[in-house]
């Protein structure tokens, strides 16, 4: 077992974990943060995307021990859910119906937030390229792209995690 200390969604946590434990397993099984989902488990689909020290990563492709001393933000920490708040990108996905089954949505939203932080006014092509690591099997991406562009318009560059 290896001791890790990190910050997850604003809270300091500390645990003894097996080195082979993946960050996504740690978030779901140890911390109960099941908002982050496992899609393909092969680092292709991006459903498990979280932010590690402020940038997007696929949490099925990071060991929990590699997050030692770092800060993780999951879909559950984007906005204050207890207060009924949504992050502007979450709101946009709701308003533009940027989902069907919803399984890819946590990862889509986390990647969209990263994309808009780096490029607050993306073109449609830049959105499609920036989201290339996230797969959706329902929507054909149309409303997902629309949601990201809508969030960019709405926040005028003010999106951050």
């Amino acid at each position: 077992m290896t001791k890790i200390e990190l910050t997850v969604d604003g809270a300091a946590v500390s645990d003894d974990v097996e080195p082979r434990m993946l960050l996504v397993q740690y978030l779901r099984e140890k911390l109960g943060k099941t908002g982050t989902v496992i899609g393909c488990d092969t680092s292709n689909c991006g459903a498990c995307t979280v932010h590690l020290d402020g940038t997007s990563v696929k949490s099925c492709n990071v060991l929990a021990v590699q997050a030692n001393g770092r800060t993780v933000t999951t879909i559950e920490g984007l906005a204050d859910a207890a207060e009924g708040e949504l992050h502007p990108v979450q709101e946009s996905f709701r308003e533009c119906h940027g989902l069907q089954c919803g399984f890819c949505t946590p990862g889509m939203i986390m990647q969209a937030v990263d994309l808009l932080a780096e490029n607050p006014h993306p073109s449609e092509e830049e959105v499609r390229l920036g989201m290339e690591g996230n797969l959706c099997r329902c929507t054909g991406y149309h409303n997902i792209v629309k949601s990201v562009l809508h969030a960019a318009d709405k926040t005028a560059g003010g999106v951050s995690a």
Partner: protein, 281 residues
């Protein structure tokens, strides 16, 4: 899918990492960004007893100016290579190629040195590193040595790095002001290229360097095309004629993505596109 159990070591210096590698030898695997290694461990294609994580060695990160070269620390991420101003100014080809590696999330974790040491023939950084004449600085128990790009790539997933050595940094001779383009042919977004071409040119065109991805077991230089391009004016006809030589002497693989002769065709077409874009045509 969960990896087989392993012990985890997190050295904070290259010396510590080399000592750990010396102690555990073949039982150990080096973890850089982990974007290729972790899938391999999860699918249990490999089961090292010890994983040595270089993530805590800050000296391996970053890019610096070193006179006639820029030096890229092995643990610098693809994302940082893509955006670095020294890279854009003196080795634009690397910035262009780093932008095409996998997807945004992978580029945030995957490292320049890790990808080169992994030496996947379909990896995006080998061909540009070869085309730019990179020099690989490798640390071992007896000190450091420098390996030329032409000697670095040995075979599929095999480099000149010894079992007891670690790639610490890569020196890229300055190609200041050279135009560049990385033309990648994929079936679906964020996948490995079926073939890709890395081209960089001085003037239009005084000199050219052309590297080929996935046209053999290692990255290759299209030397016949490079020679034919020297002094050619950057027009469609002139460039495409030189590009006809791009697949000469290559022995690309045949697989589900394409037969060898199809890959050779792609190499010629993509070389034309890459050189024209690099020359700003």
């Amino acid at each position: 899918m969960i990896p087989v159990k392993f012990d985890y070591l997190a050295p904070t210096s290259v010396e510590e990492a080399l000592a750990a590698l010396g102690e555990h030898g073949d039982d150990a695997k080096i973890l850089a960004g982990g974007q290729s290694l972790l899938p391999v461990l999860r699918m249990r294609l490999n089961a090292p007893e010890v994983v040595i994580d270089l993530g805590g060695i800050s000296s391996l990160r970053g890019i610096r100016d070193d006179g006639d070269a820029i030096v890229i620390g092995a643990m610098t991420t693809h994302h940082d290579v893509r955006d670095d101003h020294l890279v854009k100014q003196h080795a634009l080809l690397l910035s262009k190629a780093a932008a095409e590696v996998a997807d945004s999330q992978i580029r945030h974790r995957g490292t320049f040195g890790g990808a080169l040491a992994h030496a996947d023939p379909a990896g995006d950084l080998g061909a540009p590193a070869l085309a730019l004449g990179a020099q690989f600085v490798v640390a071992g128990p007896g000190g450091t040595r420098t390996v030329e790009a032409s000697d670095f790539f040995v075979d599929l997933f095999e480099t000149a790095i010894g079992d007891d050595e670690i790639l610490t940094e890569v020196r890229i001779p300055k190609h200041t002001g050279w135009g560049a383009h990385y033309e990648k042919f994929v079936r679906v977004a964020h996948q490995w290229p079926i073939v890709a071409v890395a081209a960089t040119v001085r003037g239009s065109i005084d000199e050219a360097r052309v590297g080929l991805t996935n046209m053999g077991s290692t990255p290759l230089r299209a030397t016949a095309t490079e020679q034919a391009l020297a002094g050619v004016s950057a027009t469609e006809d002139g460039v495409r004629e030189a590009a006809q030589l791009a697949a000469d002497g290559t022995h690309p693989p045949s697989d589900l993505n394409g037969a060898a002769d199809y890959r050779q065709h792609l190499a010629r077409v993509l070389t034309g596109r890459a050189v024209l874009r690099a020359a700003g045509v």
